[in-house]
Each structure stands twice: as C-alpha cells, then as structure tokens.
Symmetry: C4
C-alpha cells in the first residue's frame, strides 16, 4: 500500500516490472535491517557503563566509585537520544522512498556501519571525557553518519527514488539542511583541543535546534 | 485496521489528513523501536551473571563460586520479570493510542532510555546486594521508568491521543494508578539504607499486587 | 487470517468479543517478544568464545591457545542448535494457539527467562567442561525450559486455547512427549558427577531423536 | 501474497494443503530468525573494538593507543560490509523460495551458526592481524558460510523449493557461482602463512567482484 498508488513515474526511466518489484523488496529489507541496527546499537549503549570491580573490603566505596562515573551516565543519555533521533529521521526518509537502487543500498550500509559504531565513541567519551581525541572521535562518528545522510538525500533526488515529485523537488534543499550536522560536529573537533566541555555544548545546541517533532514530511532529515 | 475505524474525533483539533497519517506512521515506528529495546534489554541481562575466572588448579572450587553468586541469579530473575511485565503494559498502552505527537515520542524515548539501562543496576545489585547505593539505584531506575509511564498516560489523555473516548475518560485515574510504582520504589530507597533486604521485599509486593493478567484494557498501566 | 476462520468454539466459555480480541493481541505480542529473545540469545552465544589475551611477545602462541579452546567451539555449536530447535518448536506451538491467557503468558515468560539464560551455562561448560557442576547447570537449564514447555502444552489443552479441537485432543499426549527432554536432562546430572563426557553424549542422543523436521503440526513440541 | 500466485507445481510431488501451509509458515519463521541473526551479529561487531584501559596518569596516551588499533577498525568495516552483503544475498535467495523442507532448515541453521560466529574471528583478526591463524580462521568462517550457501542453492533446486521454474533451472549454475567464495577464501589460508596482508587483499578482490547491486533475481547468491 505505501508505495503502490504513488509513483506517477514522471522522469523515471522505463523498466521491467520485475526489476521495480525487486527494488521495492530491497527497500523493505533495507528498512528492516536498518531498524534492527538502530535498536540494538541503542540497547548496547548500556554496556558502556562500568560496574565497579571492588574487593569485599572496599565494597563500601561503591557509592563514591559510581558517583565518579558521571560522564558515563551523561554520554549514555546523549547517545541514546542521538540514536533515537537518527532512527526517526532515517525512518521518515525511507518512508518517502518508492524504491532503492544499488548505490542507495551501499550508502545505507555505510550509514549503518557508523550508527552501529556509536557505542564505541560513547564508551570512550564516558571514560576519557577530558581527552580531546575521545571528543573528536565522537564528533567524527556523528559527522560521518550525517554525511551519509546528506548523500542519501542527494542521491534519492538525482536517481528519482522518491514516492512523490514534491519531495523530490525539495531533496537538494533537505540535503543541504542535513549538512548542518556534519559542519557543526566537524567544527567542534578543533574546539575540543581547546576545551572539551565547550565542544560538547556545541552538540547540545544542535540537538535542541532539530528536535524530534519539528520535521514535517518534506523537511525530514535522516 | 487497528486505528482506522476508531477516532470519532470529538474534541480533537482539525488537521490535514497527511499529518494524521504521519502521526500514525510515527506510532507504528515507535512501537517497533520500543519492542526492540525491551527484548534486547531482557536478553542482555544474562551478561550480568559472572562466569568465575579460575585457574586450572582452582577449577574444583567452581561449584562453591557459583553458589556464592546467588544474588546474581535472583536479580536476573527479578529484572527479567520486571522487563517482561513492563513490556506488556507498554504494549497495552500503545495499543490504545490512535496516534502519537512529538511530546509523546520524547516521553517514550525517555522511558526507553531507562528500560535499556536496567541491565546496569541489575548487575550492580547482583554483585553488591548488601550496598544501599546498589539497591537505591535499582529502585530509582524502575521509579524513573514509571514516572515516564505516568506522564505518558497523562499526556495521552490531555492531547486526545487515545483511540476511544472511554479510555480517555479513565486516563487520569490510570496515571494515578501507575503512580503507585514510583511511590513504592522511591519509598524503598531510605529503607535500603536501613536494611537492603527489606527494601527488596517491598518491590516483590509491588510485583505481586500488579500481576500480568490483571489489567483489562481500560486498566492497563505502562 | 491465521486464527480468524478457525476457533469453532466448542467447549469454550462465552466471552465478550473485546476480551477475545485482547487475548489475540496478547498472543501476537508474546510471539514477537519470544522471537526476539530466541534470536538475541542465539547471537549472544558468540560472546562465550574467548579471544586470547596475549602480549606481543607471546602472540606466536595464538594458534596453540585457540586450539586449547575446543570445548568452547563445541558448546557454541550445541547451544546454537539447541536454541534453533527450541525456537522452531516454540513457533509451531504458538502457531496452534488461538489466544493466550494470563497463566500462559506467565509460563511463557518463565520459559523465555531460561532460554535467555542459555549463554551463561554455555560459557560455563565451554570453560569448565570437566567440572560436573558446569554440565549439571547446563542440563538443568534445558530441563527447566522443557518443564515450562510441558506446562504450556498441558495448560493450553486444559484452558481450550488451541485453534483446533484435533490439536487439543492430543495436547496431553504431546505434553508427555515433551516430558522426555527434562527426564533425560535431569538423568544426565548424576551421570555428570561420574563422567562429564558421557552426560553430554546423552544430550546428543536427545537431539538426534527429535530432529527439526520430524514434528508434524500435531506432534510439534515446544 | 509473495508465494501464493506463483508455484505452478510442475514436477512437484502431490501433498496435502496442510503440509504446504506448514512449510510456508516455516519459511516465514526461518526468514525472521535469519534476519535477527544477521542484524544482531552486525551490531555486536562493535564489541570487537577495544576501549583502551589507561590509568589517569596515562590518559594522555589515549590518542596513541587508539591509533595503534587501526587493524580493529579495518576488520570492523570489512565484517560489517561482509555481513551486510551476505544478508542481502540470503534475502534474495529466500525471496525466491516457495517453501522450505527439513534439510533446508538444517542447512540454514548451520549457515546462521557461522554468520553469528563472525564477531569472533573479527575480534581475533583485529587484535592479531599478523598471526596467520587469525587470518585463517576468518577465511574459514566465511568459507563455511559460503559452503552452506552453495548447499542451499543446490538443495533448493533438487527438492523443487523455488517459486519459479526459471530460477530452478539456474540453481545449479548459481550454486557453482557461489562456490567461488569458499574457493578463494580457502585458497587464502595457505597464503596467510606466507603473508597475512596478501591473504586479506585476496578477500577484498572478492568483495569488489560481487557487489551488492550486481545480482539480478536469477543470479542472486546467498
């Protein structure tokens, strides 16, 4: 139902129905694979929080140890929110597609490889929040995800993969809009070498500026 | 089918059909994401049980070591039951919704962030069952989940997100009913600093008082 | 479609349609939750295989170290096969149900708690294959799963939860048939204290005796 | 819908409709189980990347430590791509099936057991990229997956499990085509004992030679 009544076909190259059917099958499979990666990556984040290993004699220091892990809780919360938001944007984007082609599948696989990587920089920043390299790697991971998102918006427009002409007309503008994320994240990397906290506040502004409920269909980023 | 014939629209603000369709799409995606988080969190609990690391010479002490981990098995069992019950209540709640809005998505993401966190206090309490801070953090995690559940019930009523007027009429009462869980959990925190075992018995009473089969549609908590 | 045209209703207590609808909703949710637990438990098994931690100077001993972990590979293979088989039987059982009630949901949750536990005895037996307690815990876990399966078959018959009267008529016989598994597993526990290898061969016989393709609908165990 | 209008039945043995229905149910369950294993295995790969454990005094060496783990990032990327590609091929293969029988279920379970194993050789090769045994085990794992894929193609043809006669006619040729993967992987094992880097370059050629978008329905390997 989602894609069948749409697809007026303006500007799309003529193809055999079998191929179109294959591409739609690929779309539904890519969606399911993406869903799984997002959900599992979000749930694996909890493994980035350490359970202190104390001897029986030192067990009384547990509260103190847990209190010293504040950065781990913060990075857990940020990464959970980031993955949740990315998932919604990714879903809205895929919801607008009528089909996928091979380059789109490859772009999506690259996108997901960095989504699935998020627990690694999350753990890194939770343990070494003062180290610029940890902050830089976190920023680079989110930037890489967003660069793939930009490429997916752009390619979907160029290759006429959208369900509706209205979305296609806006695809380049949306690609540019998503571009804000990698620009801010990459800009935060040199800042992290001056002050890691300031770099992290830059990210929060980004999250606040693009809340979950904001994008309407035609504005949805990935 | 589930939501299409319901939704008489009384008291709901007029909207374009596209927006409603978007919101229902968001509902189905939020349900799928929630399902994944619950299931994976439940299955990750097993990682909170230690496999004793013994040298070949000490391997004969394995039974003794495993016997000393009784608290880990108990906390595994409790957390598995808790996640299973929460999942059913969450599903029943979402089953009553016709659509979700941005605040509901944000509340649900906060709710899930604490569900996905459950393996952490589970491991903590399994290793340090005598430490009040471990018991307190477990209680606080469940309380946080329940506070989000209360907020979701309340907001769904206020924002007219339910499928039927009958459920909407009961939503505040249900929100108050769910409120029992955070009250008991938070009350157990000072108790934990007197006696950790008594605090844990308080939770069991809560589980017994709200078994899985009890809630009918209109009484279902999250 | 699966359950709608069946359910002739012979011998079932009269109920309001809403309640039936709820119970069928619960069935589909319980199926999805079960699917997730099986799949994730199977995939987490890989974490039970150790990556040897060697210094750079000792890296040349890697092949030797990996060769010494043969029991870990065997226990991985057995547990993967066991979880795969259990999953198929569980699915065939649920496929025969028209609805679930609260006791069935509770039994299924108990069943799944032990399925999700499987990676723990798997890791234990992979590291301590010579220790009777490791073999005994593995056997006890599988036995516990099977006891829940027996109870589910029995209860589904007593509570008229099956789709067809033909299945219901055979439910007690099937419960007894499933009973073979816990009997063999429990019998292997004392054997493990004499010889751990013999105990494990007993399990293999069980696997061979109840292959995946054997059960027809009416013979499907969980 | 997918399989119902196909299946002209030429050359297939006559069976009762119930059995066919069971086999199609098994197909959909096997597909769901396979999906889960692929997605979870891909997402667990991130656990193969180490977070360096440094004392507070040594935290400044973090960048240096992370830079020394380049092999872990490369093996993560390769394995993520491999699992993504295998998943697509597996899906295309299952998409062509009308039903599954017991041997196919058993072959698929063996196939998945090695897919779920991939995080283990990935971690191994990430930590010990210079050791021939690590490279050999990685190659052997991919070879084992491919051998099962060959067997599945072959068996599906022999047992008339395909939806269309056109696919069935090509099944042996496809089985031989998939055979290229295990041949190359197994050939890389002795090469690894001469030079581990050369062995890994051999795999990359394989990936390049069989990109994601290449296979049409009739050429899809698993």
């Amino acid at each position: 139902v989602p894609a069948s009544s749409a697809d007026p076909g303006g500007g799309r190259s003529p193809e055999s129905p079998e191929t179109r059917s294959e591409r739609r099958f690929d779309l539904s499979r890519a969606t399911a694979f993406s869903d799984g990666v997002f959900t599992i990556a979000a749930t694996l984040l909890v493994l980035s929080i350490d359970v202190p290993q104390l001897s029986t004699a030192d067990a009384g220091k547990l509260a103190q140890e847990l209190g010293g892990q504040m950065d781990q809780y913060i990075s857990y919360a940020i990464s959970f929110a980031v993955i949740g938001l990315l998932w919604f944007r990714h879903h809205r984007f895929f919801h607008e597609l009528a089909e996928v082609d091979a380059p789109m599948l490859a772009l999506n696989l690259g996108y997901l490889a960095f989504v699935a990587l998020v627990p690694f920089p999350t753990e890194l920043i939770g343990e070494y929040s003062e180290q610029p390299i940890a902050v830089a790697l976190y920023a680079a991971t989110i930037a890489a995800i967003s660069v793939f998102a930009v490429a997916m918006w752009w390619h979907a427009g160029e290759a006429h993969l959208f369900r509706s002409a209205a979305i296609e007309a806006e695809s380049r503008r949306n690609a540019l809009r998503v571009m804000v994320t990698p620009v801010v994240m990459l800009a935060s990397i040199p800042v992290a070498y001056l002050d890691t906290s300031v770099a992290r506040y830059m990210w929060l502004l980004l999250l606040l500026a693009r809340p979950m409920g904001l994008p309407r269909a035609s504005q949805a980023g990935t």
